[in-house]
Amino acid sequence: MSLTASFDVKQNVLIVRLSGELDHHESETLRSEWKKMMHKNNITHVILNLEDVSFMDSSGLGVVLGRYKEVLQLGGEMVVCSISAPVYRLFDMSGMFKIVRLEENEEHALSALGVAS
């Protein structure tokens, strides 16, 4: 099962919705698409919707961390939402929740960033 990514821009927020399995193989295409979307639009914050991610490993974390660093440089915040139990464990174990904010769903994430959905 491969990975599909869809992007949506709301004001200065980039919403990234992933579906499928995020491993090293999938991470390279995702990285370049994600970077392109951030640079093409005037983005400050990123919302990462992981609802349909069925598998992720440390290569997936690497891509998320890379974008987190970019968002930080833009003075923004990264919010992760709709996370599944196995991906939650991976994030928790890796200390990701110390740096990215967790919200229940996209709507909550948007309002946390001060954007009306």
Binding site: M1, S2, E21, D23, H24, H25, E28, R31, F55, D57, S58, S59, L61, G62, V63, L65, G66, P86, L90, M93, S94
Partner: protein
């Protein structure tokens, strides 16, 4: 009863998914929990990715092998490459350590393996390949005691 499988495949990233799905299918006969199955698929993905990216520097045309043994409710995995090896295994096992920071690696591979498995042994010498041995006792027997 002991049951063993062996698989060998090219060092290309497409095979990361193949490897974890194959091992997942083999281990499924022990009736693991969903969590255990995810853990095993994750560690296979981590070790195979390491072999491809680090062992073989992302060069295709090499081989990665996996031996998986099921013995009662224990799963043993040996994932092997004939690549460049690791000069300092203790350093490589540290959380957040990566030899390739330019590739946006999280450096969490071995830490995740340590968390998800009961045993992890890394046998590696520079230019002599890397063998990652992992073992996990599935919960079934301990739950029913």
């Amino acid at each position: 009863m002991k049951n063993e499988m062996y698989v060998e495949f090219s060092s290309i990233s497409e095979n990361e998914a193949f490897a974890r799905v194959t091992i997942g299918s083999f281990v499924a006969q022990l009736d693991p929990t969903m969590d255990e199955l995810t853990e095993i698929k994750t560690v296979v993905s981590e070790a195979v990715t390491n072999a491809i990216i680090h062992g073989y520097n992302n060069e295709p045309g090499h081989l990665v092998s996996i031996t998986c043994t099921l013995d009662d409710d224990a799963v043993e995995l040996t994932i092997k490459d004939e690549g460049i090896g690791i000069s300092n295994v203790d350093e490589a096992r540290q959380p957040l350590y990566t030899s390739k920071p330019e590739l946006e690696r999280s450096g969490m591979g071995f830490t995740i393996i340590e968390n998800f498995m009961d045993n992890l042994e890394i046998i590696s010498l520079p230019d002599n390949g890397t063998t990652v041995y992992m073992k996990k006792q599935l919960s079934k027997k301990t739950v029913s005691k």
